[in-house]
């Protein structure tokens, strides 16, 4: 089924607004990657790809979603609220004592979160295990994991890449945020990674590369990934850090700094939101 891309664009825009509002109230957190991956995750969650049931968050046959670069959880939380896992008002409690929304994803606190993440490199391994668990039990669910170029500097990611290909885990799809930026600066300056897609390909993965803001292309890539047999899949999503907010876009400083009230107002104006 082809999603209504105009509708998806509206959803993505409103999710960006929620991400910015929650981060301004929290006073700490990571807007850059959250805004950068909004179009990819909106397509996954609202474009008919991820089979989940918000009324039954622990449904055993649900597709799993692991946010391995857990620091961009504001976009995940905004999505979960919009999917009715919890009331939208909870978004405004992010990172505060007693909140259901922790600084990094933790399923003990948040309905709809499938994996505790935050330390880079770990989540992709857990996602691999989930996918292997489905196969070991003859279940059909798929596992999607968000990862990033910066996270790919962790050696564990490549242990996972070897193992997933070796064991032919074809119900695992990684969505890589390739924005070329990490907290200390541009990835080419901090630790140049070359062609990450080619690296995964040489490990035996099915690899696609898309414009991470072209929802039709993302939708098609997700469909292609499902057809790949005998290989795990990677979709390299070329994104712009801070996408949608002119003064944040492609600025390394916005990886992990939150907007103040004035900056929030300016950003929401740009998005056409109140």
């Amino acid at each position: 089924m082809t999603p209504d891309f105009q509708e998806l664009a509206i959803v993505a825009n409103e999710l960006r607004g929620d991400v910015l509002r929650m981060l301004q109230l929290a006073g700490s957190g990571h807007p850059g990657g959250s805004l950068g991956m909004t179009d990819v995750f909106t397509t996954l969650w609202f474009g008919g790809h991820l089979k989940v049931d918000p009324q039954n968050p622990t449904w055993e046959d649900r597709d799993r979603f692991v946010l391995s670069n857990g620091h961009i959880c504001p976009i995940l939380y905004a999505i979960l609220a919009r999917q009715d896992y919890f009331p939208r008002e909870e978004l405004w409690t992010l990172r505060k004592l007693g909140s259901s929304l922790q600084g990094h994803p933790d399923f003990h606190f948040t309905k709809g979160v499938d994996c505790c993440t935050g330390s880079l490199g770990n989540g992709v391994s857990v996602a691999l295990g989930m996918a292997m668990g489905a196969r070991a039990q003859g279940k059909n669910f798929r596992v999607y994991a968000g990862t990033s170029d910066g996270e790919s500097q962790e050696g564990q990611v490549w242990e996972m890449a070897s193992a997933a290909a070796h064991h032919k885990v074809d119900n695992l799809t990684l969505l890589m945020d390739r924005n070329g930026i990490q907290i200390d600066g541009f990835t080419k300056d901090v630790m140049d990674q070359g062609d990450l897609g080619a690296k995964y390909k040489s490990f035996g993965w099915h690899v696609q590369e898309v414009d991470g803001h072209d929802m039709m292309a993302i939708h098609q890539a997700l469909n292609e990934a499902k057809k790949a047999s005998g290989k795990p899949q990677l979709i390299v999503c070329n994104t712009v850090l801070g996408k949608g907010v002119s003064f944040m876009e492609n600025e390394p400083g916005w990886h992990g700094v939150t907007p103040d009230e004035e900056q929030l107002k300016k950003a929401l104006d740009e998005l056409g939101l109140d």
């Binding site: 935050g118 989540g123 295990g129 989930m130 070991a136 279940k139 564990q156 242990e159």
Partner: protein, 318 residues
Amino acid sequence: MTVTQTSGEVATREAYGKTLAALGGERQDIIVLDADLSGSTKTANFKKLYPDRFFNMGVSECNMIGTASGLASTGLTVFASSFSMFAVGKAFEQVRQEIALPVANVKICGTHAGITVGEDGASHQTLEDIAIMRVLPNMRVFVPADARETEQVIRAVAASPGPAYVRLSRMKTPQFLPDDYNFEIGKINTLRDGADITIAATGTTVMHALAAADALASKGISARILNVCSIKPLDTETLVKAARETGAIVTVEEHQRAGGMGSAVAEVVAEHAACPVRRLGMNDRFGESGSGGQLMDHFGLTAPAISGAALELLGHAS
């Protein structure tokens, strides 16, 4: 009870492999992961019988632990094995983030622990694992003393959901626990009653503690012998009773003195029934190559050193 060899010498890792293979036939939900050491950890026994439920993850312990967590999250009971140095040491952060924090139903069975790994030397002699695993919330820590206890521990952790670490040995050791021996999670087994001093031992040192008790008995000293297999959860009641009734405790383990079973015992005693405690173990140093038996003697973890420490603690001239 004295140390008698009831049915040959068996390393606890061998009993682990045998028990795991048996469990595989009894329960379809058991999955086993190894990191290229299945012949040494003895998970190969399981692999041979149930190849569809065994995954070799290669020399990649960090990924193995994360994968184990993911598998467990889908409703499976997962055993993940390697040498304890790598499963616990190399993958500590993955154990913390993806096993302990999410309370994953994963049993980390680390073999070749302690100095009894022997000839491989310091790089392979894990002397810190009890300390670093017992400090993790939700993690339970068990060190079986012989093959019989190993089988009971493995069955107990398989039946009890949640994380567990089982410390296993390479070296063959006597099977000395009696036929009616019964391991329970959170319980210390009092192997011999005694009134003058308590000796608390774990794993490979338990049989040496019994031998030390014999030596002490010949000098008219009655030693109570505690087998502290369940280091976490720890049996506070039995420890407090021993502290009150015997008034002095010697602990012994092939592990750093800092943070190990002896530290756990001292913590309980200090808070509930203060009495003198003497901890035997590795004294803030690494091991070296040699046979396991030689090293246990060399580092003072066998009967002469244990009875000597007991005598000293009781104020007897050595």
